[in-house]
C-alpha cells in the first residue's frame, strides 16, 4: 500500500524533533482521523533556515512531515507557502487514496507555523 519512498521516510524520518530557538511554531489536528502534527520553524531573512516536526499520526503522516520539512528547508517563506499537500504526496511517489488527507497535516502545520512567525513579527 505504501510506496518505498513513504516507507523510507517513515523508517528514517528527516528533521524529527523540536527547535529550541524556533520563531514559528504550530500544531494542527487532523479532522479526519484525529491525529496531530507540530512544526517548528527557524526563519532568518525570510528564509527557512531550519524546520523540524513531530507527529502523532500514521506512517503517511510521518513520511509527509519528513518530506515536507525536506522540501521547505532553505526556501523563502513565499516559496514554502506554495508547497501543497499534493506536491508532498507526489514527492513520496503517491499516497493511498484514503491517506491523502495525511499529507495535508504537514503542509497545514507549516503554513500555520509561518502564520505564527508573522504574527510574532507583527507583534
Amino acid at each position: 500500500m505504501y510506496t518505498d519512498k513513504v516507507l523510507d521516510h517513515f523508517a528514517n524520518p528527516r528533521n524529527v524533533g523540536e527547535l529550541t530557538d524556533a520563531n514559528g511554531v504550530a500544531e494542527i489536528g487532523n479532522p479526519t482521523c484525529g491525529d496531530i502534527t507540530r512544526i517548528y520553524l527557524k526563519i532568518e531573512d525570510n528564509i527557512i533556515k531550519d524546520i523540524k516536526f513531530k507527529t502523532f499520526g500514521c506512517a503517511a503522516a510521518v513520511a509527509s512531515g519528513s518530506m515536507l520539512t525536506e522540501m521547505a528547508k532553505g526556501k523563502t517563506i513565499e516559496e514554502a507557502l506554495k508547497i501543497t499537500d499534493e506536491a508532498v504526496a507526489e514527492m513520496l511517489d503517491g499516497l493511498p487514496p484514503q491517506k491523502m488527507h495525511c499529507s495535508n497535516m504537514a503542509a497545514e502545520a507549516m503554513q500555520a507555523a509561518i502564520e505564527n512567525y508573522k504574527e510574532k513579527l507583527g507583534a
Binding site: A11, G17, F56
Partner: protein
C-alpha cells in the same frame, strides 16, 4: 530475517494436515457433489464427512450445519435469515456495540430497511451485561446476536447466561464464534445458542469457507436461491476442498484445544507482563481473565498504532491494530471507543494474537524489540 507472526486473529496459515486434506479435493477427487457418477459421489462423501466433523466439534447434528464462504457470510445469513423469517412476529433485533462489522453492519442495514435495533453498550472490559440484555428484550424482539469472543480485545462474553435469558424469553440467539472456535470450548447446547458462525481461515483452514449452525426447527429462511445445494439453505456448487479442509481443521482444533490453550495462555501472560513491566503508559485492553488464551491488546499512549505496526513489520513481526478488516479505516476501533477509551488513546492500540507457530522465543524477541520502538516513536510525538 526471522519472521514472527502475531496476527492469528486476522488469519492463520493453513495447517499442513488441513492443506493435505484440502489438496486431495482439488485435482484428484474433483467432482461436483451434485453429480451422480463416482466423481460426484466421492465429493459428496467428503462434504458430508466434513459436515459431521464440524457438527461434532460444536455439539450439533450434521443437518444443522450449513457451509458458507466464510465468517462474514455466516453472520449475515444468520441475522438476515432470522430477521426476515420472523418479521411477522416482530422486528426488533438486539446486538452489542463491540460486534464485528459483519454483524454490526448487517444489523444497521436491517435498521435502514425498517427493523428496530438495540445496540447494547459494554463495560470498560468490552463485556455485555446480561442484565442490560434482559431489560432490552421487548415483545417484538426476534433476534439477539452477541459474539462469543471479541476479535479486537479478546474479551469472552457471557454467552450461556445470555442464551438462558434468550431461551426463557423465547428469542432466537445467534453468536459469532469466529474467534472463539478452537480456542475455548464451543458447544451449541452449553452456550444455548440457536445459530453460530464459524470461519475457516481463523482456525488453520483456508480462506473462503465457513459454517453456520442453524438449530433444527427454528424459524429461519435462506437469502438466496439457485441449485438447491446445502438442502436449499445456501445455493452454489459446494467448495469441496475448502469444506473438507474446514472439517479437518475443526477436528484438529478441538483435539488440540486443551493443550494449546494452556501453552498460549502462558505465552500471552508472559508477553503482557513483559511489556507492562518495561514500558510506561501502557494498558491492557479487554478483560484481564475472561479473554482468549491467545489474545493480547496493549494500548501505548502518545503513539499511533500504524506506526508501531510498520516498525514491527520492518523487524519481521506481523501484528495489527484493531481488526484487520478495519485497518484500511482511519477511525480508531469502534470496539475500543465503545469500551470508553478516549479517541486519541485508542489510536495507540497494538493487537498481538498468538497461534500454533509461536514459541517462547518469539515472545522474548518481541519483548526486547518493543521498548526501543516505543521510545523512538514517542520521541517523535507532539504529545510527549
Amino acid at each position: 530475517m526471522r519472521k514472527i507472526y502475531f496476527d492469528h486473529s486476522a488469519t492463520t496459515p493453513v495447517h499442513p494436515d488441513v492443506a493435505e486434506e484440502m489438496f486431495r479435493y482439488v485435482s484428484e477427487i474433483f467432482g461436483n457433489p451434485s453429480s451422480i457418477h463416482s466423481f460426484g459421489r466421492e465429493a459428496r462423501k467428503a462434504v458430508e464427512a466434513a459436515r459431521s466433523k464440524v457438527a461434532q466439534g460444536i455439539g450439533a447434528n450434521p443437518e444443522e450445519v450449513v457451509f458458507t464462504s466464510g465468517g462474514t457470510e455466516s453472520d449475515f445469513m444468520a441475522i438476515r435469515g432470522v430477521a426476515y423469517a420472523n418479521r411477522k412476529n416482530g422486528n426488533h433485533i438486539i446486538t452489542s456495540a463491540v460486534e464485528h462489522h459483519a454483524v454490526l453492519d448487517t444489523c444497521k442495514a436491517l435498521e435502514k430497511e425498517g427493523f428496530e435495533l438495540t445496540i447494547l453498550p459494554v463495560d470498560g472490559y468490552g463485556m455485555v451485561s446480561p442484565q442490560d440484555l434482559a431489560k432490552a428484550i421487548k415483545e417484538n424482539t426476534t433476534l439477539i446476536t452477541i459474539m462469543h469472543a471479541n476479535n479486537e480485545v479478546g474479551t469472552i462474553q457471557p454467552i450461556s447466561e445470555i442464551g438462558a435469558i434468550a431461551r426463557e424469553r423465547g428469542v432466537l440467539f445467534h453468536t459469532d464464534a469466529v474467534q472463539s472456535m478452537g480456542k475455548i470450548p464451543v458447544n451449541v447446547n452449553e452456550l444455548l445458542v440457536d445459530l453460530l458462525s464459524v470461519s475457516g481461515h481463523k482456525i488453520y483452514a483456508p480462506k473462503g469457507v465457513g459454517a453456520l449452525y442453524i438449530r433444527r426447527g427454528i424459524r429461519w429462511r435462506p437469502l438466496n436461491f439457485g441449485g438447491g445445494q446445502e438442502r436449499k439453505r445456501r445455493p452454489g456448487t459446494e467448495n469441496v476442498p475448502g469444506i473438507a479442509a474446514l472439517g479437518k481443521a475443526v477436528e484438529l482444533a478441538v483435539k488440540d484445544m486443551e493443550e494449546e490453550n494452556k501453552r498460549l495462555t502462558f505465552l500471552r501472560d508472559k508477553l503482557i507482563k513483559g511489556i507492562l513491566d518495561t514500558i510506561s503508559h501502557v494498558r491492557l485492553a479487554g478483560h484481564p481473565t475472561m479473554r482468549l488464551p491467545n489474545h493480547v491488546n496493549l494500548i501505548f499512549e502518545f503513539i499511533e498504532g500504524e506506526s508501531m505496526l510498520l516498525r514491527l513489520d520492518m523487524q519481521g513481526v506481523a501484528a495489527s491494530s484493531g481488526s484487520a478488516c478495519t485497518s484500511g479505516s482511519l477511525n480508531p476501533s469502534h470496539v475500543l471507543l465503545a469500551m470508553g477509551i478516549p479517541h486519541e488513546i485508542a489510536h495507540g492500540s497494538l493487537r498481538l494474537t498468538l497461534g500454533r507457530s509461536n514459541t517462547e522465543e518469539d515472545v522474548d524477541a518481541f519483548l526486547s524489540m518493543m521498548p526501543p520502538i516505543v521510545e523512538q516513536l514517542r520521541a517523535m510525538s507532539p504529545l510527549c
